[in-house]
Symmetry: none
């Protein structure tokens, strides 16, 4: 049953299946056979198109980090008012990580497996976010004493940690809330804390 020849379509299919599996099981935990099974293609074809497993992985990471860059920094550009943009960004970032486990997991895998994206994407992401915080500081929203990377760290680090630990919190502390209720609670209270930082600074 030879499949009809559609190189681009085939490559895309492989990339998507590989992306899902790599996100789920990492590089070592994913075999070519798994990908070929998931994509209903042959082992040989995957390596024909991508040369090696290593290379396929690299391309998956590149694709996702380009996506990541776009999704995270996109909303920052079309800002309206500062407070609005801030809130939108926070909620946007939160929901992005809430919905897209794949991206976060791939990044973590890449971090651990020492296969972090050497492409320009990550650099551009950090630069854009740093520039964004700097612009907020320029407008007097945040204290200029605080380095943008510290804000960045606090916001992204907290959100990512939240999604990694929320299920443990629920279980260990035996809380009765649903996942969404718990998420909303976190988001509201975290926003409050951020505001308390902003206002405190501006009052000075």
């Amino acid at each position: 049953m030879r499949k009809k020849r559609d190189a681009e379509g085939t490559k895309f299919k492989i990339l998507k299946c590989a992306e899902k599996l790599f996100a789920d099981k990492g590089f070592n935990g994913t075999s070519i056979a798994m990908i070929s099974k998931a994509s209903s293609l042959s082992d040989g074809l995957i390596l024909y198109h991508f040369k090696s497993k290593e290379n396929l992985y690299k391309l998956v990471i590149e694709r996702i980090s380009a996506h990541y860059l776009e999704v995270v920094t996109g909303p920052l550009e079309k800002e309206t008012s500062i407070e609005e943009a801030m809130k939108t960004s926070l909620i946007g970032a939160f929901n992005f990580w809430k919905n897209d486990k794949t991206c976060q997991r791939l990044n973590l895998w890449a971090y651990l497996e020492n296969k972090e994206d050497k492409s320009a994407n990550e650099a551009r992401l950090v630069e854009k976010l740093a520039a964004y915080f700097k612009s907020l500081q320029g407008k007097g929203i945040f204290s200029a004493d605080i380095h943008p990377v510290v804000f960045l760290t606090m916001i992204i680090g907290s959100i990512q940690f939240w999604f990694r630990y929320k299920k443990h919190f629920l279980k260990i502390l035996n809380l009765k809330q649903t996942g969404d209720e718990f998420d909303n609670m976190f988001l509201n209270q975290f926003a409050l804390m951020l505001q308390s930082i902003i206002y405190n600074k501006t009052e000075k």
Copy 2:
């Protein structure tokens, strides 16, 4: 060739080598052969002492999480003044993660590889930290409106994220500071932000 007969010593050696390798390459990325090579012992001996790779891994995680529990919650118990304890804890936690990459990486691997610690240690850690924050709230330091897990998330999440991204920040933003200077900057500014939260709340 050599046949030393020191079961406890051998087991410890294996545990340490396994710990390092698991932290570095994860469970799937570490083979028994790697551990045996690193410890200059035979493959068979590792499984003789630890029954299975899975079991060895479990013991490594148990050891490290007991250590983690002690290091993180230890300082909280012998508190002097609240502010002092708070600061000590923050610096303690920061330095712990600064010096002990192993622990953090093992946790991350466990998260990704779906091998999270089912032992009581993690539960106890979260419980203790949550109780600690609750006590601070009871003393009016923090607003009782904020759930302890939110503080917890913000503090631990930020610190862990910092150590994951600081090298990228330095490189991408082309900063000239040394690693230590950069760490101190972060720590000071992060402490400041935390204080701004505390004072803001107490002023209300």
Copy 3:
């Protein structure tokens, strides 16, 4: 080195080599490496085609028991006179076990290694043979008092035992006959004994 591409041929080759080795050394005594060596193929290929050693074994047994079923029960169907069929069957069964050690050994191994054929072949064999004896009883050849399985046991058990012990008999009793002479002697005298049973019953 050589990469012939003949999946069916390869599978057959593996099956034959495995059959011989399993018959010779049993399931536990046969390693994949032995089979791959005997068939001049790689270890991996055997498991590629047969999924697991266990499954390969199952297929070997299935093949041989289908063959066994056909060889043993085939002659019963095209019966001419009863005595003729009886004799033909006896000689047929005797010669089958004389020539095909593989089948008997595989059955014995399966018995000892607790891997007895769960397929329908053995059941059908026993059913057919039992039905055959029953038909002989219906025609008044054998006493209806004797359960078919008792005849069956006596005939098959004796023949199989013969081939297991004949070489010991020859050696221990220091007999000078050739193997074939010895076999013929047994077959003739055994047939005589069977007849004595038949006639005795029919005279009643």
Copy 4:
């Protein structure tokens, strides 16, 4: 917890445990570790006493075949009347194989694993049984035309086959009898068949 030193007792214990395991799982299916676990002794001690697994196996087989010789030929010696002895022997042999699976299985294993007892025991067994049948022929019970080994084969072969297949017969033919009822049926009808041989011959 060093055990008290009792070399003979230890060796016996090992032999008994090994015997049971070898009977159950064969040579390849039994490991030193299994034996050491079953006997609550250390791996090392087993090889200290028996030099090698191969040697232990040989000794187990020797022991059991000596036992076999005694049990099977013992009753033949103290014969009273011929018919009595004949019947007693048949029932004796039947019950021996019914109760002592170990012995039968060890012999089968040895046959398949090409480790058959090269000692004098088997030779003596065959000789004695052959002599016994010859004596019956001398007394006119059996036709002198039939070679003793043919009788021997028919009796022992049938009984052994019975115990190997009775459970299959019950299952395949969907019979409702208990195991003991089924055994009794076989024994009675088999004895009847033997008598029909004897009488037929003597009538001539």
